[in-house]
Structure formats: structure tokens, C-alpha cells
Symmetry: D2
Subunit: 427 residues, 4 copies
């Protein structure tokens, strides 16, 4: 299944009149505010969000999983799926692999396929939260923090191996999500576990190529339910500081206690030059891994507002931060969910670009919270969908990616090609 | 200080061109979707939100209070302030009084003043969470639930007195917020406290005029920090069921535990014909009492989405539910805050009116969550500000109430009239 | 693997001196307070907690599962495991089955095995949150609340079938945990889903034998992450009220939003005669399903304090409420975890029995929170372990069940008998 | 009002028999486990908790305050009150002052009074969260983080003045609780506010005597409800790191988001030598400021378990960490509340001392969570009240401080001396 430029052109042609009717008045309004529309559309068009290889199949909960059909059964098919997304929105031009689920056996072929689909390889992810068949030591009681040197060694070596795989594909970052922790008070010596983790990370860091980063994720709970070795940004920051300049913190939006002000964490990390990347998703209760923007679109906007505050231009943003979706698709078609997530992220970005930053700074200096709120809300209330559509059309993406996906019957074709019983590797 | 039609006309004249430039394209777009704009604008214009008398001065926290200046020092001045708001937005045509802070001494004069400003009297509120000077029994350990019959009797009589005051002004509902509860495990016998509360409410209910409602608020904590006698909607619902058809539940948006799905509570209460009213505000942590829509505008929209789902038309909504803001203005000018809150509420209402309800119901029947989400987001992403502005202009309110408020220097004039040291009664 | 009275006798003989040295001084102290020790020990000995069949194997999270070895592979082995627990503590004399995981094929043999091990069959549980092989309709989008009549019918019939299985074994209650809900705003029509659920429950209720109860569980989230059809006690209470006297609410300790005052819910339900049963476990974040008493032992005590407040004696408690553990054993040996859970529950019960209820009631009437707290803490700070040990010794259970379990090498023997690769049915 | 040794002796004589009957069997049991009782009792006796001057009067919420009568009206009376507590429990031998509420006018007399009552002066606290009469600049929009240099300067100078007051009394630490933050998205530039705060703290740090520490408190919300400038331990840690070795973090138990694992934060800070002090209290929802140990006694024990893990002996603990209660007494007599809080803290400490640390470490190394839990619970379930009583009796404190307080009618005498209308300064 491939989506061709022919498909796109036909679809866009049909959408043209309606698009113009909404885009032109918006151009006028923005002009009236002194906003230059062309560079704005360009920035929106440039923004790319990486797709994680594990989000292409149906997810599940500990209570069960409902397969979707047509799921990619190997790395080639995963790359193909990301290619479909990118063809539709020209905003998903990167894929993030998970080792050992996605070990590239024929590296050259994999690279060629990605290149053909105009995809690059984003951060690679290690896995020490599950036991793989034939694995010598179990991670039941931890990996990088384990009490047993042999287990730690195995986990360190796995991470180094992941770097090697990533290097062959052109990745520039290793993301470490450490599931280590404890389920019961007393189970773990907090201090020793943190010290062992630091030492293990130092061994991995020593093997990191010069132009790579190591991104350290944090999470307050799950799969451990009393403590996690890296529960919060403070601990990740502490570790990144001890490791060195190539170590940074990765923020997964779902990895916070109730009511956390995430945008403030983003600002602090950014100011300290320790913000390394994002896992986008949305949630109402815990790490719910729902479609980005589905629950708290205003929070997403406020996060982008901080990101833009901290950078000069898009190139700066792009160079410094790894953007990735990390979601679980329990009831939606994963590809549809990803299209909706990318769209929501870009909406938040576009709205943040519309913020009158000079006015905002003046309101802040004047301690005028009513005005500061109005300025932010003004940007947020704007309907940026015509801008995103224009950016897509200029990039030869579909005016309405989700609609075209459905009109082309992509899922049905995937089921036809791959069957309805495939389960994406790793799920 | 009065705002005249002359002020409004001049302001609106200046805003006209810009408004037309944004309103007309929106009319076209809505037409294209088959939405009739005129009745939509009418419904938006009709929607009124009551202003509570206690929200007109600077609020405060237990750590301190920073006065704003020009605060209303008596009931007449409070009504005047609401009149200012209503002149600006024609959407705040009701005031909700708090007894004993707002006892009308000359009822006829008060009614005349309200009428002159085109205001009606919404639900009246009793206060049994503070001791007033010369009060015989203290509410330190509760009121309607108190262990001592004499205290309960005093609290019941106070509520009946509040009904009487309300009746003289034309109110049709009594709101009971019960601060009763306990700070420590063991302090209170949960069962007995609930039973005594029910009995006290029954005595009040017996005195309720036929065309009145009693609205029972719930709150999980504060000012008691271990338990509250009516902590959740379930308990309020249980009590309202025992009292009878004139008893209903009042939902204050800030009175929920972290992550509560408030819109679902609204749907359930509405379905059971027990939804009686709202206290609007916004919050990130607890009962933060921030400007409505300042933190979670999407949640506010989802609540309105449920409200509309449950009713046939605006008249139905208006007749059944008491709408009121309940906020605390710690750092903003209270009048500015209220203008922003009313605006946010009406935006949420307008967006909810835009939801393609037939399409939504079809998506639900088809178990198509991606489509259902798209339909809701479609309405939410729409820029409804031109609709609200049009509704205001048609109602002879200001195109931009907050801007006119500032241009007229209302706060400065109030300070000049009333001084900078007044403290609003009750604060 | 069986634990014999011979094993117990030898173990207890060895423990005798140390036990006496701690028990006798406690008897003196309790005597001094006017507490009769013998009936206290008898009540503690009588208290039985049911073991759910699904808690006998290693649990897991959506990120993985680490098998323990020797897990029971069929219903007979599950009953055998509960028999081991009951032989050790004489407090686990009931088992709660889950259909379809535990369909009894030879009912007579199953009943005989249970009788031999002195076990009865507690509430039976239906399962409409997973799809079973060869199942006609999928529960991906709900069961009792599903939009499609055929799916609802299938789910209703499954519940009726579960009642039938239970009846053959002597169960007297059906527990319904409904995983139905939605992951995204808009996905579900809250009102219709609740109405359909009520109608489905009414069909099940109609088939309930006269001496049965239907226990309706509630849960705020997971496996659905935006809304659950029965999210809170209020909704369960509302449904139970509509169904009739045989319908009651079941409280799972882990199914609450952060900071919920669970003991107050218990008091309210109990007062309304709608408290039907408990699922015990403990948690720090969400439905963590940890060992009961491992995180918040004081809360567990407060819950028992309410239970005792609401009943006259143990017979009353026992007759009215179904007690069951519901936990997931991710890192501990499940049988050890269950021994610890039962022990923690009985400690909380014993401490609650020690509360000076008359003194507490007087402190409450006198509004003396410092004294009320002291009275509760006095009971909680007491070391009741000698009482529990005495109760076990009198019941011919082991003085220290966990120690004997380890000394006898039970897990190793189970692994030898069953292998290390078995996975308990349903996991 | 003074409590004399004569009072204590008579009270203790009466308590003697009952005490011995519970203490001696405990000695035997501890002996049996190889625990030496005498040094244990000595450590418990040595442990002192500072009393904050502001906790001696009735607290209140934003909804009201119910005075208790006999509240201390000046610094001398506050010191007298702490002297009463210390005479009763010999565990409250320190007082923590709050400037400007407690400015010592006659330093020599104040020191003499404290010495007479055997009290020392613990950390001093600055106040930049309220405006004082005649204060030049308002803290409405912040203090150390304020946009205006003049306000920051005033706040810095105030802190330096507090150091000077503290130095004259023998204090060795300044506690900075910064209420600065924002109520609305957009109101504050997070980065600039944090940078300004750091610079202000550097100016204060420069004036810190060599043997002093500056303790930086953190709090996620209240009195600001969108963001606080120092919301979490990570931000406090970041600032303390930039300031230098004399800067440390202060942990207030109530200043955390729901479900935070506080004991892990304690362990991490302690390991990094940045744990400077504690504010003890308890809470169920937010910063409820309830009696320590009233809600979550097990959590308190787990915190002490970490503290002891990190130190060699009591001298080490005492030298490094400032212990203080910080509570608000809304319904209890403040002095009774403080007696209960100190008692609860010392119980937690005593239980933590009983933990079999070698056994615990072995269970951890063996990844045996069931055993580790049992070891902790073993200590927690122990009844340590006889140990605390013995420690008090040996220190010439009352066997039962709260009972003696009531028997002596202390509150009534205070009301007689001071009247029932006094309000403690600062409240």
C-alpha cells in the first residue's frame, strides 16, 4: 500500500475552494495584526514529529488487548506505515526504533526503504523492562539499578548495543526509560539504587558517540507502584548533571503526578540547557497514553508557548529537541490516532507562534495578569486549521489527511495485505 | 459611575470595521455547513450568568489579602458593580446575594436599583461557615450537622430567614453550601452527622415556597480537611432524593478530587432531573477559584456539550439551571476577572452549540471514537469570538467589554468614589 | 502438596514460649482496661477473607509479566492453593471464582475438593472486559452498555450463566465489574450508556435467585481512560437503588480518585443498607493492587472502624458483607502476598475491635477532636499480633503462617509438581 | 502559668505502676531480639522538635477562624507557651521565630526567658508573603522574584534583617518560604522569575554567617494557584546547588502533589547532602496542616526510616537537620495539638530505630520484597508507647503530657491570664 502524489493531488483539488474561503480571510486578519503569514506557514510546514515504531499496532491494558488487523509484522512494514503517515501529512518524517523489537537485520535495505519514503531515524530506545527469550538474567527486580552486578552489566551492554544499531541508521540519540523501582516500602534501598543507576549510566555515556545525546526519561509510577528509581524531573536532572553535556532530560507528558505544571518544568529544563526531548500523548488520570491533544489541548499550547519562549527560531528548536509521539491505541486505528496526534501538536505549535510575545512580556513586566491571560487566549482561540492546511498543501501533503486515509481505505488494504491476525512486534 | 449607551455606541462604532471583517467570513463558513447564524447569535445573546455579590471585592488566601481599591462597601454598591458589568456585556443580568453579608434593609429601594440596571436576583446563599458578631451559638463544629440541637436550630432558622429575604427580592432558589465536616479521623460520627444534616434540610425544605428550589452543593474538602458532610455528588444526590422534587444538586467546578470527570457527573444528574445549578470557576489544584476558562477551557466546553445534550433549547436550559460564577480574585481586578469569566463561559456555550450533534450521535452508534473526537474538536477549534461580539453588539453591549472598561478608567473612578481602603462586606 | 496438622503442631510447639511471653502481658493490659480477651480472640479467629482464584498466579502490567513458577494450571489446583493458605491461617476459608477462567467441569468433584479443604464458594465474578476465543461479539466497545443490542444480550447471558455456575457450587452473590467506558471525549453518550447498563442489569437481576445478591463494583478509570460507565459509588448506588434490595455496592479499595475518603463512603453505604462487599488491596497511585495494608495501614483500620460502627456483632458483619482480596502479584510469590494481606486485614479488624467505642462517642458528642483522635490512635498503636497469633493457635492454624510456608518450601514443591512454566488460567 | 517539677512528680507517681506493667514485658521482648533498651530510650529522650511561634494560636482558613482563648499576645507569651510544652514532654526544647511577627525588642530579656525555660532558638523565618503596615512596596506580585528591582531589594533586606535578629538569639539557620508565583497562565515569565529569585538568594547568601545555613522550602501551590517559583524539590535543589554548601532544601510534608513518595525525596536529598530540615504536619488533600501523624502515620515512619538510614547516630541527625512542626490548629487547642504532634513524631522515630537494619539490607540484596515488608511492618506494629513514656519519665517530663495538661487546666488558666479575645500575633 502506497499513497501517491496522484492521490494527494486529486484530494487537494477537491478541497481547494473550501480551503481558500477560510484561508484568505485569516490572512487578512493576521495581516491586520502585523503577522507575516508566509514564514509562519513555512515554520508550520517544517515541524516534524517522530513516530515510534511501537505505536503502529493496537496497544492494550493489563486487562486485555483488542487487535485492529493489518498491523505491521516486521520492521519493514513499520517503516512502510510511517511512510503512509508522512505521505499524508508530510509532518511525520522520522521514526523512532525500539530495540530488541526492531533490530534491523539488513541495514542497507532498511536505510534505502526509509530514504525512499523520505524518513530519517530519530532517537533509538532500549528495553530493560521486559525479559526477552533466551535472555540470561531477568529484569524482574530491575536493570541498571539491579543489586546484582551481572544484571546491571547485561543491561548496560544492551544499551550500548542499541547505540550501535542506531549509529548504523543515522540516529543521534539514545532514549533510556528505566522501569526500575519497587512495589513495596522497604523493598529497595533508594540511595544504593540511585547510585548504581548513575554508575550504569556513566558506563553507557562513555560509549556515546560525540554527536549523540542520551535522553533520560522520568516517571513517577508504573510498572512499579511504590517507587521508581527516576521518578521526577529533579532526579533526571541530577543524573544528567553528573553525566555531562550530552545527557539531557526527556519529558513524557503522561509521566507526572496529578496536577503537575508541566510547562514550568519545560521552562526550567530549557533554561538550564537540559531539555532533550518530548514524548507526546495526553491523559486524564495517569500515563493514559491517549491521543495528543484529546484531553487537555490548552496545556499542550502552554507547553509550546514555553518552548518557543526559549528558542530563537525553528532551526534552534529542531536541533535541540527530539519530538516524538508515545501513545497506546486501545480503541482507535493506530494510524488514525497518529494522524490526529500530529495534527494536534502542530495546532499547538501554530497557536504558540501566534502569541504576541512583545505584548505578553510587557504585560508581565506590568504585573497585569488579566492582560497576559488575554494575550495567550487570543492566540489559543484563533482557528489555525487553515494555516495547517495551507502548510500541508504547500508541502504536497493532503489537505485533510484523515479523510484521505479513510477514502483510500488504507486500513482495509493493510488487512488484505497482512491479514487480520498480525500483531505488531513487541505488543 | 455609570456606563451609558453613549459610551457603548462610540466604542462599537470604532470596532465595527474590524468586527465585520471577521464576522462575515464566519457567517459564510457556517452557512456552508448548514448552520443558521441568526438563531445562534440570539441564543448566545440570551445566555445570562449571575454574579455573586461576594466576588466584587478582592479575595484572599489564608496567607493574606491584597486589597484592590474601590471595592463596594454595601449592597447598593455591589448592585451598582454588577450593573456596570451588565452594561458592558449584557450577559450578567443577575446577582446572587449572600446573607448575612448582603441583608437588604430597604427592600423597595434595592429592587428599584436592580430594576433600573436591568438585573434580577438569582439564588440566595446562606452562611453557616463563619460566626457573626452577636451570634448565640458558634459554628466551629458545624451547623446543620452539629451534635447540639440548639446549634442546628439556629442554622435552620438562618436558612429560613435567607429564604424570606430572597422572597422579598424575587429570588427563586436557596443555595446551601455546608462547610460542616471534620479535620481528624474519629472527630465525627459520619452516619449521625449525615442523618442530622438530612433532618435539618427537611426542616428548611418544609419552608420552601412552591416555586422555589433548594440547591445542595458538595465539596470534598476545605475548610474541613479530613471529611465534609456532603463531600461528593453522590451524597448530595442521596439527600436531594430524600427531600423531594424541589431539591437538586449544585455543581461547583472547583469542588472535586483530582482528575474527576465533571462532565459525566453533569450528564448523570441531568438525566436524573437533579441538576440544579452551577458555580463556575477554574482550578488546577483544588478549589482555586480562578477565572473560569483560564486553566481548562476544553473541560468547560465538554460540560456545556453535556448540558446542551440534555436539553431541547435555551429556554429549557435557562428555566432549569442556575448559572453563577463563584471565584476569588486574588490578583486581578474583580470586575475584569468577571468580564473574562462570563466571556469564557459564553465561548464554551457557543462552541457547544456548534457541535454537529447528529454526526456525533452517528459516530457514537458506529463506535468510531476518532470521528467522534474530530466532531467535538471541530466545534472547539472554531473561533467563536466574532459570534459573541455580534451578539453583544446586537444587545447594545460593548464589542470588547474589557477594553472599554479600561478605556473608561472604571476602577480609578470607583477608587475615587469609594476610596482605596474599602473592603467588600464579608471579605 | 498438603500442609498437615502434624506440620502445624510442630511449628506451634516451637513458637509457644515466645508467644506466651508476649500474649500474657497483653491479656493483663487489656484486662486492666476492662476488655474481655476470650471473645475478642474468638471474633478474630472467626473472620474469614475470600481468596480470588485469579490472584494465585503472578500478575503483570501492560509492560510485562514475570512468572513465578508452580502456578495453578486449572481450577483444582487453584482450590488446592487456597486450601494451603487456609491450612496455614484458618482465615482464608472461601474462594471466589471468575468465569470463564474457572468453569467447573465436574461440579461434584470440585465441591468435594473444597469441602475436604474446608472451603466455601464466595461471590462469583463475570468477565466482559476481554474477548474469549470463539466469542461471537467483541467487548472492545463495551458489554452491558454497548450500543449494539446483540452485544448487550451476549453479556447479559454470560452473567446469567455465571449465576448458574455459582449456584451449583453454593455461591450466593454475583460480582459485576464493568470495564465499559470510553477513552475519548465524545466517544460515548453518557446518558444512553448508563440507561443501557441499567436495563442490562435489570435483566440479570431478574434471574438472581432469592437468596442471592448482585454486587455492583465502581471504578473511575482503567481500562478506559476518559470515562467509565460506573465511575463512582454514587453511580453504583443509583443503579442499586433502581434494581432493588438484592443489589448492593462493592467497594474495591483501589478504585478511587486520589485522596478519596473511602471510610466515609463505607459509612454512607452501610447506613443506607447498600454496602455489599469489599475488594481489599492497597495502592499509592491508582489501582496498584498491592498487598493489603502495605501502603496505608491506618486507612484500612479506619475502614474497619466504620464497619464495626455499623454492625452489632461479627455475625451481622459476616452475613452482610462479602470480603475478598483483589490484588496483583507482580514481584512477590502470590501465596506469600495473600498470607500477608489476610494478616493485615485481620490486624485492622482486631485494632478496630479494640476501639473504646463509648469513649469515642462521648468525645464526638463533646466536640473534642483531640480526645477522639487519641482514642482511635490508642487502638491503632496497640500491638495486636499476639491476639492474632493466639486466635490462629486456637484454630489450629500456624503461629506464623509465612514462616511455616517458607520452612516447608511450599513454592519449591509446587514448582516440582507443576513445573515452572505454568501460567494460571486467565493471566 | 508554669508547670513545676512538683506537678510532674505527682503525675508520674500515679502513672508508675501501669507504666511498669507495660514497659517491663517490652524490655524482655526487645532483649529477646537483641535490642539494647537503655541506649534506645536515651536516643528517644534526646530527640527534640522545634515549635514554631505561629502555631501557638488558633489557625484558620480563608473561610474563617474560630479563636481558642488565652492565645499568646506577644513574644514573651509565645516563649512561655513553648516552655509549658517542654516542661510537659521535655521534647520541645526549641522555638522557631517568624519575623516580623516576633521581633525581639529586648533581646537579653528574651534570651534569659528562653534559657530559664531550657529553650533554644531554632531556624528563623522571613515573611514576604504578606504586606505589613507601613511597608514601602507590596508583595502582591512577588518578592524575591518580583519584576521590580525595588521590591526585590526590600525583600532581600528583610531576609538579611531576619538573619541579624536570629543571630542575636543564637539561631543558626534562615528558612525561606517563597510564596511567589502566578495565578494564571501567562502571568509570569518562568525563566526570568527563577533567575531573579536565584540572584536575590545569592545576595542573602552572601550575608549568611559562616556557621549558618539557608533552608529553601518548596511548595507546588497556594497561595498561588497556577505556578510557584519554587514548586518542587528539584527546583529547590537546583537553587541550593548554585548557592553553595550552606544552602539546603527544607521539606514540608504538606507541600507535595497528590501521591508523592516523600520518603524517596528525603533519601535523594540526604544522599546529595542537601537535606536541611523538616516542617512536620499531616494532610489528606493539600497543605492541610493537620496534626502530624493524624492521617498517614505509616508514611511518617517511612520518612524516619530513610533519615536513620542516612545517618550514623542521633548526634549526626541532630546536627544536620532542623526539625520543626508547621501546622494550623483550626479546631483543636494549639497546645494539645502540638503535644500530639511531638508524640507522633517521636513514635515514628522510635519505630524507625527498631527496624532490623541488617535484616532489611539482606532482604533487599536478595530481592525479597515480602521479607523486606515484614521487617518494616514488624517495627511499625510494635507498641513503642512504653519506650516514649520511659524516656519522658527519665527526663522528668510527664508520663502522659496531654492528660496532665488537661488535669492542670492549663488552657483555662491561660484564658484567665490573657483573656479570651487575644489573637496570637501574625494570625
Amino acid at each position: 500500500m502506497r499513497i501517491t502524489q496522484q492521490h494527494i493531488r486529486e484530494h487537494n483539488k477537491e478541497a481547494e475552494d473550501k480551503h481558500t474561503a477560510s484561508f484568505l480571510p485569516l490572512v487578512d486578519q493576521l495581516d491586520g495584526k502585523g503577522v507575516e503569514v508566509d514564514p509562519l506557514v513555512d515554520q508550520i510546514a517544517s515541524f516534524q514529529v517522530a513516530i515510534p515504531s511501537w505505536a503502529l499496532g493496537a496497544g492494550g491494558t493489563r486487562f486485555g488487548r483488542f487487535p485492529i488487523g493489518g498491523e505491521p509484522g516486521n520492521l519493514e512494514e513499520k517503516i512502510t506505515d510511517v511512510g503512509l503517515l508522512h505521505a499524508l501529512n508530510r509532518s511525520s518524517g522520522a521514526i523512532s526504533l525500539h530495540i530488541p523489537w526492531d533490530i534491523p537485520e539488513d541495514t542497507a535495505a532498511i536505510r534505502a526503504l526509509a530514504e525512499e519514503l523520505d524518513l530519517v531515524f530519530d532517537a533509538v530506545n532500549s528495553n530493560t523492562f521486559q525479559d526477552q527469550e533466551n535472555q540470561e538474567h531477568s529484569y524482574k527486580f530491575g536493570s541498571l539499578s539491579h543489586t546484582d552486578t551481572a544484571v546491571r552489566k547485561q543491561a548496560v551492554e544492551h544499551n550500548i548495543e542499541v547505540i550501535r544499531y542506531g549509529a548504523t541508521l543515522g540516529s543521534k540519540a539514545l532514549t533510556v526509560w528505566l522501569a526500575d523501582g519497587s512495589n513495596f516500602p522497604g523493598q529497595q534501598n533508594f540511595r544504593k539504587a540511585l547510585r548504581r543507576t548513575r554508575e550504569s549510566l556513566e558506563e553507557i555515556y562513555a560509549e556515546l558517540p560525540d554527536d549523540w545525546q542520551i535522553l533520560i526519561e522520568y516517571k513517577p509510577y508504573e510498572p512499579n507502584f511504590y517507587s521508581m528509581v527516576i521518578p521526577d524531573w529533579g532526579t533526571s536532572f541530577l543524573l544528567a548533571g553528573k553525566l555531562g553535556a550530552k545527557a539531557r532530560t526527556l519529558v513524557d507528558l503522561g509521566h507526572h503526578l496529578p496536577n503537575t505544571n508541566i510547562e514550568q518544568i519545560v521552562a526550567t529544563l530549557s533554561m538550564e540547557e537540559k531539555l532533550g526531548g518530548f514524548h507526546f500523548n495526553d491523559s486524564k488520570y495517569g500515563d493514559d497514553d491517549l491521543t495528543t491533544g484529546a484531553i487537555q489541548p490548552y496545556q499542550l499550547f502552554l507547553i509550546f508557548n514555553e518552548l518557543i519562549e526559549g528558542t530563537d527560531d525553528y532551526a534552534d528548536l529542531e536541533n535541540n529537541i527530539a519530538w516524538m509521539i508515545d501513545a497506546s491505541h486501545n480503541v482507535k486505528d493506530p494510524l488514525e490516532d497518529l494522524l490526529q496526534s500530529v495534527e494536534a501538536i502542530k495546532k499547538a505549535y501554530a497557536k504558540a507562534l501566534l502569541v504576541d510575545r512583545r505584548g505578553l512580556e510587557e504585560a508581565r513586566e506590568a504585573n497585569d495578569p488579566a492582560l497576559a491571560q488575554s494575550i495567550l487566549q487570543d492566540a489559543f482561540q484563533s482557528d489555525v486549521r487553515p494555516l495547517l492546511r495551507e502548510a500541508r498543501i504547500r508541502s504536497k501533503a493532503a489537505a485533510d489527511p484523515l479523510r484521505l486515509y479513510r477514502e483510500l481505505g488504507v486500513r482495509d488494504q493493510l488487512i488484505e495485505e497482512r491479514g487480520s491476525d498480525t500483531i505488531a512486534t513487541g505488543l
